[in-house]
């Protein structure tokens, strides 16, 4: 694969060139999807080019279907190389490009090998016949005397040779596929039917491959889109009609913005660099209409599907079903529910578009380049000829993902800015907006006759899905957002069993959620019902389920396959479940299912046959369920590349096991809430079953599609195995641990969500405020009379020159400044060091830190030492104004004279920065600074610290640092109603700062393990203690500063703090499973567990996961998990840790754009329950999450 996205000549260039043999044909392009009741508009026939043999030695083969990561490219190369006697390296396979490849419709239904490869193979045979004839004429020998080796025609003994390239030299041959060129005989095959290594893997394994994500064209810009709030819903009058406005000034501060594009509900940004686009899309202020829509309630899928308007389509009615079922001796009506699922491409969709006034060129990972071209032409109101789609490989999509959406997005952005634009969707956008694999409802009525035969089978299936119009068409209003009905629920709707009385009805219906085909389209859910039901019939008839199936099958190949798979798996006939004795707490079971994937327009045709024997193990207590082994049999006829087929089978088994056990799109208020892999978990390595593949050799049969077949029996096989293990039938997916647990033990996990509480602003400060304002005013006013409210100004001086002090003094001052964290509070995120301006939210209003650089006007440049000393010890500014006690002068009064001098020296020796601090924004009476004099009179003396001669020098040094410069109590001591630090037992007993909880450092510590001197030292030094967790919020900056102090000082602080007795060792608490005991919470622990596993576990695995850069903090010992409030945890989860205390700790991403408040609440509840099971459950978690989300704080 070259870096150049496309060196291949186009069809028209080849049609015009000389030195070529072209094999062409007139083809009828497929019409695309036709809604129910619509008539397809026939497209004009077009000239398709299949093979081009060129004089430069290149042999091109063209196919309209594309490689979705299934290895189809390799298989097609095998076919072409085989017919033309070329080596595989000699064939350049071009897939999908609209200027090159024929329009053969979308790559769906595993039909590439079965259908679209046929003309290609005929064309290759045509080319071979022509080239051989031409060589024969040149050599004057009969064709029979010629053979071909790697594109060289050889006559007789090999003395006469001519290459294909030479045969076309200087000529232009154009030949139509006649269909009469003889195909190579199977017995002569050297490539087809043998395992061939995939041609793309070496480049992919080394980073040399160009995926669509890797396309870069000169002058390319980066785009991101902002999607509307109707997450994942694409029909209804609000679609394309919900935007109120976009405030472009909201991103004026972001460099590199080239354009903001708004077309109705389509919103996008274009920037020079990718990270700018990410930021711009995140920060762009977009206002949408308030959300008032009433959408169908998706918490009960079966009901939602029943309520969705539908029209029944009877596809089979045989015998007399109603009478037969009425006469059944054992009647069984069953309902099966399939959830909404995601394709879940690992790479979110991406595209590059280059649009000028004449033409647009799009690099896309689309599944259907020709349909996309039509869509884009429609979007631009252009003729299709002006649109070119270059098909690039992307991450696997297993059906329709957002590839087309993003291509259209890129086109709109490129058109707006007149330059090429690359658009990458975010993980959240891909999750929310990909057309889902639809939910489906299968209802079966039937039963057994007294003699154990099947009385009848009445099957109805409801499938709300469609073609999911390309999003930009809907958002811009080019296409009306009306859900169209498509007839696609009928795949494998007719069971493979020959029941005498049988009726099959498809309830065709419009989509509810944006949905489109996904691997195993409707056949997988339909077979879940057919194969679960027949299993139930077999057990009811007391016949072994494999035997029972064979009795009702007429298809011999199916019977052969079933027998072979049963034998391979060592199937033991059974007529009752739970025959495997449980060991300990593990239940084991084994289940069988068989299906053939019947696809395309009804009645369609069959792809490969497949059968499964699945083994499961279930933990009786927790319901945890593992599929331990799958024996899967597969009959795909002739296999072009048996290795490729085997890999497809593996992939199908793993993906479908994942779908059956884990996958279900979560909705909140009927909108898609799963925005990342925690909200939509998929199977991981430790959960992958052992897979034993049995491929039936059928070399003389037609090759059949194998991209989907092996998935189809999955759900029923696993559900049947679970029945075998537990005696319980599961008819709704996914079969999760919580469902199994509930079925075994009754409901334990509330799982039900209480209605969301409205977030309460300022909730965390309520304690400070309650009933205190009046008292506070009184106290302040009362005391003010006896203290000096206004203090004298200290005369300004000119800034002392830096050489006033020795370098040693300045260095000592630097260390002290670090210990005092001056810069932490006196520096804003992007501001100059110590220039002030950082805002502090206090219960009394907002204050800003001051500029402490030596600028004479705005900083402390004209402060004498006396002025500095007074400010530090008494909280009085040089001009006599009182400073708010957010500035911890109550601690700083304890600083020694020498240290104060050094600190002054250091600050004065720094470069001045001119920067005026905003005025504090305090509510009355707190805006009355003189009142603070009274405050000081009350509180300043309480925090005065005296050395303790009974203690070691190290302890006293530590005490001095902690209580003086370190001002630890400023955050870690609770404050009284007047904002003064409490003392005595409350000293260092934990406080709140800027919305963060500063945990107790004294005996009141909630930490599950006591803080030892070593723990404290390690934590203060690095920001991480493996027994306690990682520093976050304001503490990160503190540790950053401390890390520049001499080690002895940090050690001394640790010695002192440890002596405060930071809690006794709590009895060792074992983390418990989510299931252990019911807890009084409204959050769903199971959901929290899922989110933890998908979103958090890679980094917080407690040794059960990978080793990754940075620390891997254990939740079990995390102080925040054991705290009385969830605040710190909620903040860290939602806002991440972008600036860790020290660089080696690693980073934590923010989940605020990926987790809803409800999901965050579930996660918090789970963390608390699992890792602090001895502590009471936290309450009001949704509002805690809402509060944390809204309040990042300034740290």
């Amino acid at each position: 694969m070259t870096k150049n996205p496309h060196p291949t000549p186009t069809r028209d260039e080849l049609l015009r060139s000389s030195g070529v043999l072209l094999i062409v044909d007139d083809i009828q392009p497929p019409p695309g999807l036709v809604p129910k009741g619509g008539t397809p508009t026939p497209k004009p026939k077009e000239l398709a080019l299949f093979i081009a043999v060129c004089e430069d030695g290149a042999v091109y083969a063209f196919n309209g279907h594309v490689d979705l990561g299934t290895g189809i490219r390799t298989a097609l190369i095998q076919i072409v190389a085989e017919e033309l006697d070329l080596s595989m390296e000699q064939v350049r396979m071009v897939l999908g490009d609209t200027e090159r490849a024929p329009n053969q419709g979308a790559t769906i239904a595993s039909a590439t090998i079965q259908i679209s490869a046929v003309p290609l193979r005929n064309a290759a045979a045509e080319a071979r016949r022509f080239l051989l004839q031409r060589a024969a004429d040149l050599f004057g020998v009969p064709v029979e005397d010629l053979r071909v080796e790697e594109g060289v025609v050889i006559a007789g003994e090999g003395n006469r040779r001519i290459s294909y390239a030479e045969l076309v030299q200087g000529q232009h041959f154009q030949i139509r596929v006649s269909g009469t060129a003889p195909l190579k005989k199977r017995e002569d095959y050297t490539l087809v039917g043998r395992a061939a290594p995939r041609v793309d893997i070496p480049a992919k394994a080394t980073g040399e491959f160009t995926y669509v994500h890797d396309v870069r064209v000169p002058g390319m810009l980066h785009g991101r889109v902002v999607r509307p709030p109707y997450a994942g819903i694409d029909s209804g009058e609000f679609v394309g009609n919900s935007l109120v406005g976009v405030d472009e000034s909201s991103i004026a501060h972001i460099p590199g913005v080239v354009g903001v594009v708004v077309i109705r509900d389509f919103v996008g940004v274009v920037t020079e660099r990718e990270e700018q686009a990410i930021k711009a899309a995140r920060e762009l202020k977009v206002t949408w209409k308030p959300w008032t829509q009433k959408l169908p309630d998706l918490s009960d899928l079966a009901q939602a599907l029943r309520d969705n308007p539908s029209s029944p389509r009877k596809v089979l009615d045989k015998g007399n079903v109603d009478a037969a079922i009425a006469g059944a001796s054992q009647r069984m009506s069953r309902t099966y529910v399939w959830p909404y699922q995601m394709h879940g491409s690992i790479g979110p969709s991406c595209a590059v578009a280059d649009c000028n006034d004449e033409r647009v060129k799009v690099w896309s990972g689309t599944q259907n380049p020709h349909l996309l071209r039509a869509d884009i032409a429609w979007l631009l109101e252009w003729a299709e000829e002006r649109v070119e789609i270059i098909r690039m490989e992307a991450a696997g999509c297993y059906g329709r993902n957002c590839a087309d959406d993003v291509a259209a997005d890129a086109v709109l952005l490129s058109r707006a800015v007149g330059r090429p634009v690359r658009v990458q969707l975010t993980r959240e956008q891909e999750h929310v907006w990909e057309p889902k694999g639809t939910a489906q409802l299968m209802e079966v009525d039937g039963g057994l006759n007294a003699d154990g035969t099947v009385a009848g089978y009445d099957f109805a299936t409801s499938y709300p899905s469609n073609g999911a119009p390309t999003l930009a068409l809907l958002l811009t209003g080019r296409v009306d957002p009306v859900g169209a009905v498509f007839e696609m629920g009928d795949r494998t709707s007719i069971p493979p069993y020959d029941y005498d009385h049988m009726r099959v009805v498809i309830n065709d219906m419009a989509p509810i959620v944006r949905a489109s085909w996904m691997r195993g389209v409707s056949a997988l859910p339909n077979s879940f019902a057919h194969e679960s039901y027949i299993d139930e019939l077999a057990f009811a008839a007391e016949v072994d389920p494999v035997e029972f199936r064979l009795r009702h099958l007429r298809d011999e190949r199916a019977a052969d396959l079933i027998k072979a798979v049963a034998e391979r798996a060592g199937w033991q006939p059974r007529t009752a479940p739970q025959q495997t004795p449980p060991d300990e707490n593990v239940l084991r079971g084994r289940g069988f299912a068989y299906a053939r994937y019947i696809h395309s327009k009804f009645p369609g045709f069959g792809a490969a046959w497949a059968a499964w024997v699945a083994d499961v193990s279930i933990d009786k207590r927790t319901g945890d369920i593992a599929v331990t082994r799958v024996v899967v049999g597969h009959d795909a006829g002739q296999m072009i590349n048996p290795d490729g087929v085997r890999h497809q089978i593996h992939g199908n088994v793993i993906q479908s096991t994942s779908r059956v056990l884990k996958e279900q799109v979560a909705f909140e208020d009927s909108l898609v809430a799963s925005k990342e892999w925690g909200g939509y978990p998929i199977l991981t390595f430790p959960e992958v079953p052992d897979i034993d593949v049995l491929m039936i050799p059928r070399e003389t049969e037609q090759p059949l599609g194998s991209g989907e077949s092996a998935s189809v029996p999955s759900a029923a096989a696993i559900a049947n195995a679970i029945f075998d293990a537990t005696g319980i039938r599961f008819r709704e997916l996914p079969i999760t641990a919580e469902r199994v647990r509930e079925a075994l033990h009754g409901p334990s996990d509330p799982g039900v969500q209480a209605p969301a509480e409205p977030p309460k602003g300022g909730r965390r400060f309520s304690k400070w405020l309650t009933g205190s304002i009046a008292g506070l005013c009184g106290a302040l006013l009362g005391v003010a009379a006896t203290a000096l409210p206004f203090r004298a100004e200290i005369a300004p001086v000119s800034r002392p020159s830096a050489d006033t002090w020795s370098a040693a003094t300045i260095e000592r001052g630097r260390q002290l400044a670090a210990a005092g964290d001056c810069a932490v509070c006196h520096t804003t995120a992007n501001g100059a060091v110590n220039a002030g301006g950082l805002a502090f939210e206090t219960p009394f209003g907002k204050v800003y830190s001051t500029n402490i650089t030596p600028d004479p006007d705005t900083g402390i440049g004209n402060w004498s030492f006396a002025a500095f000393d007074r400010a530090m010890r008494q909280g009085i500014s040089r001009d006599g104004r009182h400073l708010y006690p957010a500035f911890p002068y109550t601690s700083f009064q304890n600083i020694s004279e020498g240290d104060m001098q050094a600190l002054y020296a250091y600050l004065m020796a720094q470069a001045p920065t001119r920067s005026r601090t905003p005025e504090a924004d305090m509510a009355f009476p707190f805006n009355q600074r003189p009142l603070l004099a009274g405050w000081n009179a009350l509180f300043l003396n309480r925090t005065k610290h005296q050395p303790d001669p009974q203690q070691s020098a190290e302890w006293n040094r530590g005490a001095y640092l902690v209580n003086g410069l370190g001002h630890c109590s400023a955050c870690h001591s609770p404050r009284n109603a007047m904002g003064a630090e409490k003392t005595g037992a409350a000293y260092l007993a934990g406080g709140m700062v800027d919305g963060w909880e500063a945990p107790a450092l004294n005996a009141l510590s909630k930490a599950p393990k006591p803080w030892t001197e070593d723990d404290l030292f390690q934590y203060l030094r690095t920001g991480f203690s493996d027994r306690h967790g990682v520093a976050a919020g304001p503490m990160t900056a503190v540790v950053k500063e401390l890390s520049t102090l001499p080690e002895a000082d940090v050690r001394a602080m640790a010695v002192y703090l440890a002596s405060l007795g930071t809690g006794a060792e709590a009895p060792a608490v074992q983390p418990v499973a989510a299931s252990a005991a019911p807890v009084p919470t409204t959050a769903s622990l199971s959901n929290g567990e899922r989110i933890f596993n998908g979103s958090c576990k890679a980094c917080h695995s407690d040794g059960t996961g990978p080793v990754l850069f940075g620390v891997s903090p254990s939740m079990g010992v995390n102080t925040n998990v054991h705290s009385d409030t969830p605040d710190n945890l909620a903040r860290v989860i939602l806002h991440g840790i972008a600036q860790p205390a020290t660089r080696d700790l690693g980073y934590m991403p923010a989940f605020k754009d990926s987790l809803s408040n409800r999901q965050a609440a579930d996660l918090l509840a789970y963390l608390r329950h699992r890792f602090a099971p001895d502590k009471p459950a936290w309450e009001s978690l949704e509002s805690a999450a809402a509060h944390a989300r809204a309040n990042l704080g300034t740290h």
Binding site: D200, Y211, T684, V1107, G1146
Partner: protein, 155 residues
């Protein structure tokens, strides 16, 4: 804030200027044209963006440029090429351990870091190490075999 940062990438000293909080992933892909690391989630959940930083597997989507300052980063390209693949890459090619291959960067880089640390991992060790790497195509069987093959080769 824009920042000029020096780091070593695939053995080469490089300097890049960008916002300090730009994820390393975009620096590698856009400034250094290294396509190995892929964007999958941006949340550290899937592993597609994995590189090796100072000898440890690292998720480049959650590490800001500033966090890579002065460090040594190795990407998929830094291991080998299609003509001269690294033994771990060779093992993935030999086992055909890709369907779409989008996850393969993460699998190879994580496996490489594991094998550097533990040349003789058990199958469970490999499963555990890869437990945070997602593959939607279901290539797990081939990937596990590839890592085992690579381990045999490095032994």
């Amino acid at each position: 804030m824009e920042k000029t940062v020096s780091l070593k990438v695939n053995g080469r000293d490089v300097q890049v200027t960008a916002m300090a909080d730009t994820p390393l992933l975009y620096i590698l892909r856009n400034d250094l044209a290294l396509n190995g690391p892929k964007y999958g989630c941006g949340l550290g959940e899937c592993g597609a963006c994995t590189v090796i930083m100072d000898g440890v597997a690292a998720r480049s989507c959650v590490i800001p440029l500033a966090g890579a300052e002065g460090r040594e980063v190795v990407t998929l390209e830094g291991l080998g090429s299609s003509t001269e693949p690294h033994p771990v890459q060779q093992a993935f090619i030999a086992e055909q351990a890709a369907q779409c291959g989008y996850c393969m960067n993460g699998m190879i880089m994580t496996a490489k870091a594991l094998l550097d640390r533990n040349p003789n991992p058990s199958l469970d060790d490999i499963r555990r190490e890869l437990s945070g790497n997602l593959c939607r195509c279901g290539t797990h069987v081939e990937i596990l075999r590839a890592v085992q093959r690579a381990a045999r080769g490095t032994r």
